[in-house]
């Protein structure tokens, strides 16, 4: 990573009437990396992206994207970015090829460049066979690849991807991310929103958003390591009951169900956390297996959305 910032935002804020969609967001996203926005629906991910693209005016604060003041020169910026919207926004009644040619022409690629790039991308995304199929009749994964192709044809320096993989099977998701890493290798910066932990894990940098505000940020590893909490993994046949019992205790910050396991987040001030938890369950007679584990991103997320991450 170089020292240059692709995106820097200070106090970026957006209100819709009384709704505070984005709340004084400060961001510094370096060039040539994949940066993730992680957060539940409605936390302001799309709104933030729209402000960074110059589609929405910030109520307060400012943003510099690729060195361009977004509020002042949105049209200059638009030549250098690509934005894959959350909702499929190509034309359902055009074929894949027609959609791609249209986008190429909008970005004023000369015909040769346009057709070469389309051919290359179609091959890379394994869509050659579907190039004459209507976009509206494609599957979720095919549309997603088509949409990504359409916004990368002009080789943008910065790519915004808003929940690109939400309608896509795991295998396609893996492929998709491989392609993103290829792009980063060529110097592209990618800002991607997601609510999948495994995807967030792959990002170089991550911002966890909660109700429009930045709840935590850093690299996934950094965040996991600096988590001011002890995580106890609990295996038990009665997860529900265990969870309810543990949550009554003030030293237990939260108990999250992860698959068949429970992750109890315990105050790091507690010197013997396992013994402490077992004491809490003794009366119920429920049998459990407990061990201290390294926190995962889910734990980070739970902590962040409880407002328990160090600033």
């Amino acid at each position: 990573m170089t020292g240059n910032l692709a995106i820097s935002a200070t106090n970026l804020t957006r209100k819709f009437g009384n709704i505070l969609a984005v709340d004084h967001l400060n961001l510094e996203i370096p060039e040539a990396c994949i940066f993730g926005f992680l957060g539940p629906n409605g936390c302001g991910k799309s709104t933030t992206i729209r402000m960074l693209c110059g589609l929405l005016t910030a109520t307060e604060g400012e943003a510099t994207v690729l060195g361009i003041d977004v509020a002042r020169h949105p049209e200059v910026l638009k030549r250098r970015i690509g934005y894959m919207t959350q909702r499929f926004s190509l034309y359902d009644d055009l074929t894949a090829l027609e959609n791609l040619r249209f986008m190429g022409d909008i970005y004023r690629l000369d015909r040769q460049t346009r057709d070469d790039r389309i051919a290359l991308l179609l091959e890379r995304f394994e869509l050659e066979a579907l190039s004459n199929q209507l976009a509206g009749t494609m599957s979720g994964g095919q549309r997603q690849r088509l949409a990504l192709m359409a916004v990368t044809l002009h080789e943008p320096d910065l790519l915004f991807l808003d929940e690109p993989t939400s309608a896509v099977d795991p295998e396609s998701r893996r492929q998709f991310w491989e392609f993103l890493f290829d792009m980063v290798d060529t110097g592209t910066t990618i800002l991607v929103t997601t609510h999948f932990m495994d995807e967030a894990e792959r990002c170089h940098g991550l911002a966890i958003l909660d109700k429009g505000a930045l709840a935590a940020s850093g690299s996934p590893r950094q965040m996991k390591e600096s988590l001011p909490i002890t995580v106890i993994e609990i295996e038990s046949g009665h997860s529900r009951a265990v969870r309810d019992l543990l949550l009554l205790n003030s030293k237990v910050v939260d108990v999250a169900q992860i698959g068949t396991l429970l992750h109890a987040l315990v105050d790091p001030g507690e010197a013997e956390p396992i013994r402490h938890l077992q004491r809490l369950l003794r009366q119920s007679g429920i049998k459990t297996e407990m061990k201290v584990v390294v926190p995962n991103l889910e734990d980070v997320f739970v902590m962040a959305t409880h407002g328990l991450m160090p600033a």
């Binding site: 589609l55 929405l56 005016t57 049209e75 638009k78 934005y83 926004s89 190509l90 916004v151």
Partner: protein
């Protein structure tokens, strides 16, 4: 038995429907707006009793009796602006160029005709490319003059319909229909142009590209100009094949005029497209703008019959001007050069509309 009709479900649907209407302010406004505005506008504006036509007069007799006849014509209020012309031939030119609607020709032997009482005293040359004018002129033929008693068979004026003597209605209707059909279809096509992209989510992608508002507007209407030409051609061909429509004037000039008219109606559609937020609203606005054009442009009701204020208002519509052009060229063999007064309002409408739509269209979502 009507099985399974639950009153509470019907009620739930009805309540939901009312809620939709209340949320959609434009539609809600139209519930009251359409009947009120339309009733007032059309009630006052539409009037088959035409007055105040402009006329040209050639008085070759120039006697006190002939001057009396002219005064009587004016007193009828059917004509009010009288201008003198030198010859019947000049009257025909003025009629063709739409400068007058009626030509009054009083022949040199007027006094003899008056004395003998065997032939009509004078001639009315009528621009019958508008059937309403013909009707109004018919009201003049039995004007009584001192010393002459018009009868059923012997009228004061001999009526000379200039352009459609057989009075075939297709000849009146088809050229105007060109304009009416184009106004409807062109506005319909373009009014949903941008709304559709917004509704389907395409717009969010498009406005993130470097495309400019003007590029988008011009690109949106360009194909429809060609479609407009196709439609005009179809209508005229049908007119000729099925209804023996005589194409009197220059088709090159007509097609040139279409090139002014079609873009102007297309921008009306574009304006609607930047105002409406849903396709349904776009359809409503198309309808609301179409109806006044249909009724006030002079297609269905006489333009001259409307109050002056409404006439000025109707001058805004592209259809008003195109009707005059198309009727002029097709029926009266007028030249476009004589119709420039109808061309620049179309151009003005196009330019203003384009500027308005481009400024209204914002490459932002807020």
């Amino acid at each position: 038995m009507i099985s399974g009709v639950s009153i509470s479900r019907v009620w739930a649907i009805a309540v939901k429907e009312v809620r939709h209407l209340r949320r959609d302010r434009l539609t809600g406004g139209m519930i009251a707006g359409i009947p009120v505005v339309m009733t007032i506008l059309f009630g006052y504006a539409i009037n088959n009793d035409v007055r105040g036509l402009s006329a040209g007069v050639v008085d070759e007799a120039n006697t006190s009796a002939s001057r009396q006849l002219i005064a009587a014509t004016r007193a009828s209020q059917v004509v009010d602006r009288l201008s003198a012309a030198d010859s019947p031939w000049e009257l025909e030119q003025l009629l063709a160029n739409n400068e007058i609607s009626i030509g009054i020709h009083i022949p040199a032997d007027f006094e003899r005709r008056l004395a003998l009482g065997q032939r009509p005293l004078a001639q009315l040359l009528v621009d019958d490319s508008d059937p309403i004018i013909l009707g109004a002129a018919r009201g003049l033929v039995n004007l009584s003059v001192a010393g002459f008693q018009p009868t059923e068979s012997l009228t004061t004026f001999e009526l000379l319909p200039m352009f459609n003597p057989e009075r075939r209605s297709a000849v009146f209707i088809v050229p105007g229909l060109c304009g009416v059909i184009l106004t409807l279809t062109m506005v319909l096509f373009t009014s949903i142009a941008i709304v559709k992209e917004r509704e389907r989510g395409n717009l969010e992608l498009l406005i993130t590209t470097p495309v400019t508002s003007l590029e988008l507007m011009v690109g949106k209407i360009a194909p429809y100009i060609v479609i407009g030409y196709i439609q005009v051609t179809l209508i005229l061909l049908l007119g000729v094949w099925l209804f023996d429509l005589p194409l009197r004037g220059s088709m090159v000039e007509l097609y040139l005029a279409v090139g002014f008219f079609v873009p102007s109606v297309l921008t009306l559609g574009l304006i609607i497209s930047t105002i409406a937020t849903t396709q349904f609203q776009a359809f409503q606005l198309t309808f609301v703008t179409f109806l006044p054009q249909l009724l006030l442009s002079g297609f269905m009701f006489p333009f001259e019959g409307m109050p002056k204020a409404v006439q000025y208002f109707a001058e805004i519509f592209p259809l008003t001007h195109f009707l005059r052009i198309v009727r002029g060229i097709v029926i009266r063999d007028a030249h476009l050069a004589a119709l420039t007064d109808e061309l620049w309002p179309l151009l003005l409408f196009f330019v203003t509309g384009m500027i308005f739509a481009t400024l209204r269209f914002s490459k932002r979502l807020d």
